[in-house]
């Protein structure tokens, strides 16, 4: 465990020494941001909409007391979505999608000697291949989490009004009630932390692949497992430190 952590730190340090020119880094980061961002919009949209809808229905099912106003459902959907569900669930979904893709791609490049080809040309392969992925994730994850927050709340609205759990007016009153802007900041900070963990851990797993196709598969699986665990631990640490 400690050995892996040490290797991970050494790997991260190689990303920042003898990097490529800012123009190449910028172009590569934009390419990666498009790959990570555009390809993930659909899955994030589907997951977050349904999570908002399910949260609304389940909160409404539990709120049976006549003393509690129905607008509380909207309030709870907003709080749960912004504080926890949008950043964490989106990141776990992205750990599966983006993390496995990063590890699989780098692993394949490693076993087919493409990484060696870069090194022989005098290019720092870790910096050239991995740094843009991490930077792109840091840019794109907060955007996807913002989209997830919006769609979750919208999903809750659709589910709540269609099932008759509450009226549109009650839902809107609920989501505007006692709003704390810092919660948005908190969610975005979490998304940046999760983006770094997922992209760096997946890159580390993929870059250090040795062997054949079987090892590439194992690297992808390990990347997802490690990323999900890291996200959950970081989620707790962020909550303790920032709330």
């Amino acid at each position: 465990m400690l050995e892996h952590f040490g290797k991970y730190l050494l790997f991260m340090s190689t990303l920042v020494v003898r990097g490529e020119s800012p123009r190449i880094l910028f172009n590569r980061t934009i390419d990666e941001a498009i790959l990570i961002g555009i390809n993930s919009i659909m899955i994030v949209a589907i997951v977050s909409t349904f999570i908002g809808a399910v949260t609304c229905v389940q909160v409404s099912y539990n709120l049976t007391s006549a003393l509690i106003p129905r607008s509380t459902i909207g309030f709870m959907v907003r709080e749960m979505t912004i504080l926890e569900l949008a950043p964490t669930i989106t990141s776990i979904v992205l750990a599966g999608k983006v993390g496995s893709s990063i590890a699989g791609g780098l692993g394949t490049m490693q076993i087919t000697e493409q990484v060696d080809a870069l090194e022989v040309m005098g290019i720092n392969s870790a910096s050239y291949l991995v740094l843009p992925k991490i930077l792109a994730s840091l840019i794109v994850f907060p955007m996807l989490v913002t989209l997830a927050m919006f769609l979750s709340i919208a999903g809750g609205y659709v589910a709540g009004t269609l099932t008759g759990a509450l009226t549109a007016q009650e839902y809107i009153t609920g989501i505007r009630d006692a709003f704390i802007p810092y919660n948005i900041v908190f969610a975005l900070i979490k998304s940046v932390v999760f983006a770094f963990l997922i992209s760096s851990l997946s890159s580390f797993r993929g870059y250090n692949t040795a062997g054949g196709a079987l090892e590439v598969g194992a690297a992808s699986t390990n990347a997802v497992t490690n990323s999900v665990i890291a996200v959950l631990i970081a989620d707790y640490v962020c909550a303790e430190l920032l709330l």
Binding site: R18, T112, E113, Q114, D116, E119, V120, M121, G122
Partner: protein, 271 residues
């Protein structure tokens, strides 16, 4: 000229290279010959710096490479072209982008049109004119090797390294690739080192041959001298290669006869 001195490399308990020394001359095709698992590819990787030797040093035209300052190593690496066993083409890029890549990275001052001229020149040189837009997945094994060579020579390399350039290729394509490497070596007067276990390559293009056995250099000489050696391991290797070649020849003849018989019986049935 590349000089290696007393290279040792161990992986775990296994000693892969055991004090290998030698000189690889400029303008000649230098062959690292040996059976599988004798440390040829590891030695090549030690020379280009992909693997760090435990002991020993590598010198490129008098400049010390191993353990030298990073910028000096980088400067030498920029003069290296390498053809990998698997070709190692970037599979997300077209043939043109693959050949253009080292130019883009190593010569940022070069204009786009100059780069394109160089790419087209290199592709023409390896006989792949018109393949610019193809993806690596659309190429045959031989074509991939040619693109690999074009990419290696694109930035005007001074040193060319080829790791088993004939692996996975039929004898005719192997011969063509061998000839291409030989021509390029002589045309540009570069230092070429080829890892191979193919005696055909030795006979066709080997100017200077170093025979490795169990991580040690057992023999060094020219292709004219290789048949007269009294080193038992080398003679066994040559004999095994001949045997394999003859067996392959017989196998091909048997297949050819079977195919002809099949065609004849088809014809007679049709009549």
């Amino acid at each position: 000229m590349i000089e290696i001195h007393n290279i040792h490399k161990t992986f775990g308990d296994k000693k892969v290279l055991d004090g290998v020394s030698g000189v690889f001359e400029t303008g000649k095709t230098n062959l690292l010959l040996g059976a599988s698992g004798t440390g040829k590819s590891v030695l090549l990787k030690c020379i280009v710096g992909l693997v760090k030797p435990d002991i020993g040093s590598v010198t490129f035209d008098g400049t010390y490479f191993t353990n030298n300052k990073l910028d000096i190593r980088q400067e030498i690496r920029r003069k290296i072209g390498m053809l990998f066993q698997s070709s190692a083409l970037f599979d997300s890029m077209t043939v043109q982008q693959n050949v253009e890549f080292p130019l883009k990275m190593l010569t940022p001052d070069m204009s786009k049109s100059e780069r394109m001229d160089r790419v087209n020149f290199c592709l023409n040189r390896v006989g792949l004119e018109g393949a610019n837009k193809k993806m690596p997945s659309e190429l045959s094994g031989g074509m991939k090797k040619r693109v690999g060579i074009a990419r290696a020579i694109a930035p005007n390399c001074t040193y060319l390294f080829c790791d088993e350039p004939n692996s996975g290729l039929d004898p005719l394509t192997s011969l063509k690739i061998d000839e291409l490497i030989k021509e390029i070596t002589e045309e540009y007067n570069i230092t070429t080192i080829i890892v191979t276990h193919d005696m055909n390559s030795v006979i066709e293009i080997g100017d200077k041959i170093m025979f490795l056995y169990e991580g040690k250099k057992l023999w060094e000489g020219t292709r004219d001298q290789i048949m007269d050696t009294d080193i038992r391991e080398l003679n066994e290797f040559i004999f095994a290669n001949r045997l394999m070649r003859d067996a392959k020849k017989v196998e091909d003849e048997v297949h050819e006869e079977a195919r002809e018989e099949q065609e004849q019986s088809k014809d007679s049935n049709g009549k």
